[in-house]
């Protein structure tokens, strides 16, 4: 069983919640039955803590407690001149190189929302770690019509029964129910920093009129799901800073039967059709690794490293959008999650 290293900022947790919050969180995580170590950190000590992680915790799984309010993301400049001022990343903690592009250790984060209460944050964490299994014999998802071909290729890697909807015609006005859904959720849609929903886009020669139909809102995934996992390629799909639970699909999903999510904190990249690259390629490799039986954070770590390896072998260099993909994709939720074979 892997050791888990919990990173938390006691001052910020105390300020937002209470003096006893850290102890209560420790009690919940101890019940995961793994070997645990808890490391306090803040701005003044983070460089030392990082050195310790890279030297002493290489076989550990790192879990960050909280979102931007209580454990701020590391911010780096965007590799691409695309207007993103900064990119939020968790790679910084687990990469020895200055550019943080290649992670070396498994890492996940349990993000909280701006409207979180102590009770709701503890409850969510407790639920996430109640069990470490998800089902993978069902799948569903939504793609922008314009990216249908690339999305079909990614979806194919999620070997299970199910269909991907195209938006348009799908919109939030269509009936969308996840009643008793257990499995993989995949979204290849548009997102933006200040939007709570994700949007489709009509294809070049589509018969549908609306250019960007609203395809998914947080409330659409708040009921009926259990034992599931979620991957999103939306720009800012995993951007949770300054968001209430009801303003973020990922924050809602983690409270609604989804054990973990992977997604991007900034502008994400891909292609319209195969051969797939960037976000499409990373998610495809993640599915391959996860379905081989790796726990979620190991599958995610492997996916990033295989992604980098394949790109430097194919192209002889790592393009700026590949580097950005590697730093902007993050994991939220229970990193111990594995596929339930039964």
């Amino acid at each position: 069983m892997k050791e888990i290293t919990i990173l938390y900022n006691p001052k910020k947790l105390k300020k937002k919640y209470s003096a006893s919050f850290a102890v209560k969180m420790q009690d919940i995580l101890v019940s995961s039955q793994n070997t645990l170590q808890f490391i306090e950190t803040d701005d003044s000590s983070k460089a030392k803590v990082k050195d310790f992680i890279l030297s002493e915790c290489r076989d550990s799984i790192i879990i960050i407690i909280g979102g931007e309010d209580v454990f701020p993301f590391e911010k780096i400049s965007s590799h691409v001149d695309d207007g993103d001022n900064i990119v939020c990343t968790d790679n910084w903690w687990v990469s020895s190189a200055d550019d943080c592009v290649i992670p070396e250790i498994e890492i996940s984060r349990i993000p909280d929302a701006t409207d979180e209460t102590e009770g709701s944050f503890l409850k969510m964490t407790e639920n996430l770690f109640l069990k470490n299994k998800v089902r993978a014999n069902e799948k569903t998802g939504i793609t922008a019509e314009i990216w249908k071909k690339a999305a079909d290729e990614v979806f194919r890697h999620l070997k299970a029964q199910g269909e991907i909807l195209s938006s348009p015609p799908h919109t939030v006005k269509s009936k969308l129910e996840f009643d008793k859904f257990e499995g993989g959720l995949y979204f290849n849609l548009h997102g933006a920093e200040d939007e709570s929903g994700w949007y489709g886009q009509r294809a070049k020669f589509s018969s549908y009129k609306e250019e960007y139909p609203l395809a998914l809102l947080p409330k659409n995934i708040s009921k009926g799901i259990k034992n599931s996992f979620l991957a999103s390629e939306a720009c800012f799909g995993a951007y949770v800073n300054n968001k209430k639970t009801s303003e973020s699909i990922m924050l809602t999903a983690l409270r609604s039967g989804v054990s973990f999510c992977i997604g991007s904190t900034a502008t994400a990249y891909g292609t319209f059709a195969p051969p797939i690259s960037e976000a499409d390629m990373l998610v495809s490799i993640f599915y391959d690794e996860f379905l081989k039986g790796k726990n979620a954070s190991l599958a995610f770590l492997n996916a990033k490293r295989i992604f980098a390896q394949k790109n430097i072998e194919k192209n002889g260099f790592l393009d700026d959008d590949d580097k950005k993909t590697l730093v902007e994709f993050v994991m939220y939720g229970n990193p111990l999650t594995e596929v339930d074979d039964e």
Partner: protein, 86 residues
């Protein structure tokens, strides 16, 4: 191939494949092809590219979502990859 010729190749690509970016002036950057550190980190035997690589980034801020198109091209004029923002 000089920069003017490369610009011509990219312009033709835009005319044929992405007309909406025709009015956008791209940001052009030389891309680092130094993979020494990545090879060490990944224990890879990949061979670095000998040609220079340039990236052309087009950003279109019209409409509901920012549209970004990236094209990487070698100094021999080979378009190595293209990608668009989600």
């Amino acid at each position: 191939m000089n920069r003017k010729e490369l610009n011509g190749i990219i312009e033709n690509y835009i005319k044929e494949n992405a007309k909406e970016f025709l009015s956008v002036k791209p940001i052009v950057k030389e891309v680092s092809t130094d993979i020494t550190e990545y090879k060490k980190q990944l224990k890879s035997k990949a061979k670095a590219r000998r040609e220079k690589i340039f990236s052309y980034t087009f950003v279109l801020n019209e409409g509901m979502f920012k549209k970004v198109l990236r094209i990487s091209v070698s100094d021999e004029g080979e378009i190595i990859k293209t990608s668009k923002s989600k």
